[in-house]
């Protein structure tokens, strides 16, 4: 069995994950009028979150391909786990 390192972010089912900078995170939260804990969560141990280099407390921007909108942006709050 040949072992190769495969980046999960390249998988067809995995949308683009981007870690937001603190300034950007503040801006996004203000725009949405919400608190980080009220966003959907993603665990820090999640393979995609790890590949994106996220740490607990970060906010990840997820750019999904959508059959209805073409492209949608979602956010997830990185939690310990």
């Amino acid at each position: 069995m040949v072992s190769r390192k495969f980046n999960v972010l390249n998988h067809e089912l995995v949308p683009k994950h981007e870690v937001l900078s603190p300034e950007e995170a503040v801006r996004v939260l203000k725009e949405l009028g919400t608190m980080p804990e009220k966003l959907p969560w993603i665990k820090a141990s999640d393979p995609a979150a790890r590949a994106a280099g996220a740490k607990p407390g970060d906010i990840i921007r997820i750019i999904r391909k959508s059959p209805t909108a073409g492209e949608t942006v979602a956010y997830r709050y990185v939690v310990v786990g």
């Binding site: 040949v2 999960v8 390249n10 995995v14 959907p40 959508s66 209805t68 073409g70």
Partner: protein, 437 residues
Amino acid sequence: MAKKKASGKKTKKAKTKKTVKVEKKAKAEKKARKPTIDDVIVEKTEELRKRGVPLKIVEEVREKLMGVRDLLTPSDVKRIVDLVAEEYFNNLVEPAEPVGTVAAQSIGEPSTQMTLRTFHFAGVRELNVTLGLPRLIEIVDARKTPSTPIMTIYLDEDHRHDREKARDVARKIEYTKVENVTRRYEIYPYQDYETGLYNATLILDLDPAMLEDKGVTRDQVAKAIGKLKNVEVEVDDTDPYKINITIQGRDLAHIQRIKDRILNTRLKGVKGIKRVIIQKRGDEFVLMTDGTNLEQVLKIKGVDPTRTISNDIYEVERVLGIEAARALIIREIIDVLEEQGLDVDIRHVMLVADIMTRTGEVKQIGRHGVSGEKDSILARAAFEMTVRHLFDAAARGEVDELRGVTENVIVGQLIPVGTGIVELYMAPSSLVRRGEE
């Protein structure tokens, strides 16, 4: 895309063939001049995107406008774009609309028309796939393992166009044990009179057709068995398909165990993959498997790791993450509904998947998941095990904030949905001030 098209047309109008570099220059010059209708369309549709209209609608508008560009004036474009924006925002879901209830009914009603128990043969006769209501329930209940775990393995560029090469990969993936290539075996136990221990001779008669099919040689089988303890292997020179094995055991039961271990020895393949079927899809060969092991299969050479997928939602969550699990939930539910000829708007399914993956792990819709973890005691009590929930809440001194729908129905209040969510607050101090004026 549209921009490229636009500039291409522009050069045609100027009746000159220019290289890309020159074209760029020309573009800059053009900007200084009066903008063409194409520029207006591109600019206005880009503005639409910035206003928050989804990409797909923006692209559609742009394409349609480009199609009739000769009939339009810049003010037409502006009017159309404004209308599109207005129409789009008018059609958004209103705040406080009970989207969950609408989704539940939109999926629930068509589901009543589903055939109760369907086992369908998806493309291949040999492979049995659970579909229909049982599969739908399995997905929303987030069962740990699907009743028919299946992987769809796509192959990389080198292997996808050739059946022989596809078979090579399939052989590497299919879990093969000694038992699978054995036609017959004979076992002769005997007692060693000096030590009183039992030994045995095991003669394996390998199946030539299976060896060929699985791509294994007798020497490989002998080598794999030779690694076991208490076993001595000898290949029979007179018969190319015979292997003689001497087992040194303590008693008959021990010999029996060793024999079972020999037959279960792994020759090749990935654990959990019981069978691999080669299928032709379009112009490429695809492997379908009975059993899943996404993590290991993605590492196999010849497999395209970017497209290979399993129908086990937990496995996908573990290997590819929560977002992939969300996408898979949507895909699997839509597949089931479509296969049954039911037309459910994908947005309802997306909502279900969003709720199931909200906490960063896949949760079922039901007792141990979404419904069982509601904040409200009354809502939980209304769902299942009423008395227990009320006792527990009382013992812990919990408070129900009456924010949800269920609890407000129970106490007979207006439910916080639609217009019921609007509350009126009054600041007496400001009234006083006004009176003073």
